[in-house]
Every structure is written in C-alpha cells, then in structure tokens.
C-alpha cells in the first residue's frame, strides 16, 4: 500500500513518464546515435532538463499560406537570388538608410526585418516577424507603397513587379517555412506593444503625481 507521499510523487512524475514523452526520448536517442560524441554525452547529461521541455512543448500554428506562427506573430523567411547588380544596389540603398528600415514603422505590423547577404552577394536572406496572416495586407502594399516594394524587390532575380498578379506567388515560391518558431510574447502585436508603452508611461506619471 502506497503512502500519500509515494502516490503524490507518482502523480508528479507522471507527465514525464507519459508514452508520448518516452517515445520522443527514444526517438532522440536513435537519432543521436551517430552524432559526435559530445552531442551524445550532452543528450544523456541534459536529459532531465530536456524532458521538462518535452513535457511543456506546445504546438505551432501556421501563418496562412506559408510560414509559422505563434499566437499573433508570424514569420516569413526567404532565400532569394539577386538579379544582376542587385546586391550592389540593395546594399547601397540599405546603407543610405543607415542600416535601418524605419519605413517599416508605416506598415504597423512589422516586428523586425533582416536583410543578410549570402554566398558572395549572390543571395539575399530576408527574414521578418510580422503580425497576422500571410495574405491579409499584401494587396494594401500594392496600392499604398508600390514604389517602395519595387525599389526593394527589383534587385531580385525574376521579380515580376508588385502590380503583377503573380507577385504573391513569387514571394511564396521563395519562402521557406520555419521548422521551429519561438516567440516570447505571442500575444504582443506591434500595435499592442505601442499601446502598452503609452499606458505604462501614463501609469508611471500618475503614480508619481500621487506618490
């Protein structure tokens, strides 16, 4: 007959003993069987921590047509070949913008945007975290900021122009959905963050007044 403590201990370790988690651990051991030794050692030594993460793992949503999403925040990652002279032009443009892209402010949904030149300036890694669904606002870019879009993307091999009906397909074709996507605050959209910044400031001011 178990003591209360023993029964409680069993309940507490139960999730880690669940068949799904055990299967995952088994699978990882199989996969890492041919890993470098330091990896195999790390797997066994780090298993308690890893097991906790396996138990706590929640899923990932999709951003619509393509891309991963956590809560309200989606990712878009693409590796795109430069057109002839495209890398030089784009680098010049980005340098003129001082390596920042404050034009993103106007869009209102971009958390970040990354332009990384790869393979001797033959390819562009473009990565962004943005709010909402893949498709939702692209048509708005076409009518509101067509020049900015063509100025950027004309440097890409095969860009049909933002007004082309195949522009969306072109973007999707070069996009690679992330295998994993972690977002610290999945409910914090850009708009919500801005709102909370203002509220936080107002609360601080209020507390100072009454303090």
């Amino acid at each position: 007959m178990q003591t209360q403590g023993q029964a409680k201990a069993q309940k507490e370790t139960a999730p880690e003993q669940s068949p799904i988690v055990q299967q995952k651990i088994q699978r990882l051991r199989e996969l890492y069987a041919d890993a470098p030794e330091l990896g195999r050692v790390a797997l066994e030594k780090g298993l308690p921590n890893l097991t906790r993460e396996l138990v706590a793992a929640t899923g990932t949503q999709n951003a619509g047509r393509i891309g991963a999403r956590q809560g309200k925040v989606s990712e878009l990652t693409g590796i795109i070949p430069f057109a002839n002279g495209g890398a030089k032009r784009l680098r010049g443009l980005l340098q003129a913008l001082e390596g920042n892209f404050r034009g993103g402010d106007a869009v209102g949904t971009l958390h970040d945007m990354r332009f990384v030149f790869l393979d001797n300036d033959t390819k562009l890694l473009f990565a962004t975290a943005y709010d909402g669904d893949w498709d939702a606002y692209i048509d708005d870019f076409v009518t509101k900021i067509p020049d900015a879009m063509d100025l950027l993307f004309c440097n890409i091999e095969g860009w049909p122009g933002i007004h082309s009906p195949s522009a969306k397909d072109f973007i999707a074709k070069h996009q690679i959905a992330a295998e994993a996507w972690y977002v610290a605050s999945p409910n914090l959209t850009v708009a919500e963050t801005r709102r909370l910044e203002q509220v936080g400031k107002a609360v601080d001011e209020f507390l100072e007044k009454i303090g």
């Binding site: 619509g64 309200k72 106007a106 869009v107 209102g108 949904t109 709010d131 909402g132 669904d133 498709d135 939702a136 606002y137 048509d139 708005d140 870019f141 076409v142 009518t143 509101k144 900021i145 067509p146 007004h163 009906p165 959209t189 850009v190 708009a191 919500e192 801005r194 709102r195």
Partner: protein, 457 residues
Amino acid sequence: MSSINESTGLGVARSSPTLDLNEIQATVLRQRPAPYFGTHVLFRIDDPKAGRPFLRRLAPHVDSAAGWWDSADPWLAVGISYAGLATLGLPQESLQSFPEAFRVGMAARAPQLRDEGVNDPKNWESSYGNGQVHIGISAFSNSEEQWRSIMGIARELYAGFSGVSIVAMQDFGAQPGDLNSLGYKDGIDQPAVEGSGVEPLPGQGRPIKAGEFVLGYPGEAGVPLPMPQPDILGRNGTYVGFRKYQTRVGSFNRFLQAHGNTEEERELLAAKLVGRWRSGAPLVLAPQADNPALGADPHQNNDFNYSADPRGRQAPFGCHIRRMNPRDTQLTRLTDVNIHRLIRRGTTYGPPYDKSAVSEADDEVPRGAYFLFISARAMSTIEFLQQEWINEGNFMGLGDERDPIIGLQEEGATFTIPRDPVRRRVRGIETFNVLRGGEYFFMPSLSALKWLADSGN
C-alpha cells in the same frame, strides 16, 4: 409607381457611365428598394443535362443594370457556385481559372473565415456546406404586388422542371420600416462605383475603381483583377457572397437590459455597438440622441467621416459600422480601405425585431439576415474582414475585441466604449448573430449567362 430613385432618395446627379451596363447584372448596381420584398431560391442541378436548359429558360428574365438609377421594376439576380459550374459541365481549364476560395466553396474556407464554434460549417443548416447549392436566384421588388407577380413568373420557370430541385427557399423583407432583425435601419453605406452613371451620395467617399466590383475593368492598383476564362465568361461578371445569419434577439435584449437601467441608457448602449441609432442616424452626427429625420434622409444619414471623432468618443472604434468601413480612422497598420469595400444587398427574414423578447426561446425564432455582398474579389475581401476587422481588434488597437454585431465571441468578451474621464468596458458580449450557412457565387454577365446556357454538348 415611384422609381427606385425616389424611394431610396438616390442622388439624381448623373454622370456618363463608362461601364457596360447592358452586360452587368442589375443587382450589382441597383440599390435595395425601400420598402423591399423578395425571395431567395437555391437550386441543385440533379441531372447535369438539365442544367443548361434551365439556364436557357432563365437567361431572358435576368435584368441588366442598364438605366438602373431610373428603374422601378422588380428584378431577378442569378449566381452560380463552383459546384454548379462543374455540374453544368464547364471545361476543366475554365474551372481551374477561378480563384481557389471560390473553387473549394465557403464551407471549406472556414479556417480563413474564422467560422468556428457555433459558426462551424458542421453546425450549418442541412442545405448548406455540402456542395448541394448550385444556382441561386434572388427576386427583389419594391411592392408586395410586384413581388408576387415576379415570383409567379419565377415559379413558372422552375416548377415541374425536372432535373433541378430547390434546396432552400426564403421570402424576405416586408419589415415595418425596413428595419433589420435587431431593429435597425441597415444597408445605408455603400461604395460608389466609378463609371456607374451617378455621382456618389454625400459620405460615400470618392468613387472606387470599377474593377474592384466588376471583372474586366482596372481596379485600384490600376490593373484588372484576375478574371476567370474564357473572356466572355469572366468579363462584366463578379462574385457574390451569401451568408445566412440567425439573430439571437433574446440574448441581445438581455444584454441591453443587463447593462442599461433606463430605456435611454439601453438605446445609447445599443447605438454604441452599432455606430448608428435605430433610425440610421449615425452617432458621429447625433451623439446624444436619435434623430429620425436625419436617419431617413440618404443625403444626410451617411454624410460624415471620423476626423471629428479621433478618440472614438462618439462612435466607438469597435462599433460595427466603424469596423466595416473605417473611413479616415487612423488605423494601427498600413491599410487601403478602398480595396476592402463590399456592395451589400442584405435582406432581413422572419418576424420583426421585438424589444420585449428576452427568453432563450426567442433566440431560436427563425429571424435574421441574409448577408449578400458583391465584389470582384468578394472571397478575399470577406476573408480579410472576418480575420482582421470582425474577429480581431488589433487594427484599431482593440486587442482581442471583436465586432459586437457579427463577431464570433469568445467567453468573457468585452466591448470598449471610449468615454471621459475613463473608458467604459462592457462585459457579456455574446454572439448575437450566428452563421447558419453560406456559399460563394459567381454572378455572370448577361452574355456569359447565355454562353453558359448554350455552350457544350
């Protein structure tokens, strides 16, 4: 007999039409009459060989938009779903040229439409969501007498026509004052279509490029939207969305009673949800009390924008009409409101709104709205609206709040009413309009209709 012009008070300021009005179906441009009567009939083609003869019989009775601003006669409108086009025997190449959302049908787009929970297609009425709805015919009229007469003609067309059967039929309209199922005058704001032949009414904003509403013309981006092939099939056609809502009048009234102690408070709260008073008078122009004369005048009841209401003190940011057309509201994200507009031909069905109805049984009385909407990109627009402006609040900085009238509400939903000194946040918003079924239709031009009826084996 008064013309539609007079009964809706449509602006008589004419301009030269640049659209092929003889080809475009009447309902794309003709306003819903006031008063309005009519019927929706949804057909299934049981025998593929019967489909084209059915269209052949129907085609001569489908009205064009020619002289639409003057016309007072009742009219028929026809739409065909993808399932209908496939059953009619349209070649694969042609079928594949339609947008994906149209091809798979509204039920399959539930994820994009956020039609889940009570609105999930698996809960829809049995006529909808299973590929049975092939052809939709709507009859509109401004008098009961003319409505009966046009339904008589329609009945002669399809009664006893073997190979085609009715899957759903609903009379609509005939509401006192043309009020909707929540007791409001609706359908006031419409986009002005460039080249349609009339000047915009005050408040409609500038005319929007025709290509946003009719296929084959340049849209707001300067190029025509993708059009189904062949040319004769797509040109001058458009898409119609059809969403049938059941209105939970009991829940709505209980909500008002829970959050308002006097009749005045309840009416103000209701107006804050909608953005207008029951007469149609907009809060922006009548912030304190209803103004029926204002509400009744089409030259005044829409003549406003939100520049004088930047904090939402008059019309809350999340109110229904501000969500459906933000006009010049400062949104949190880069948006072109002109590419998210819909021409609306909604119709009310069932008994009139009853202020004293508060029971759960009152929620189930068959009473509500057919939300019919028209656009050359109707599928993407409604899916955008459902995702971004109806079941979300981020575009206005409202977090998770949803449209209080047609949003799908979660447990603990709130509605924020901006107010001095402190905003009011009301709890207990429920899903007041429940989706019972729907479909995407293609609305062919008159030539396309004849082509569909005549082509093939």
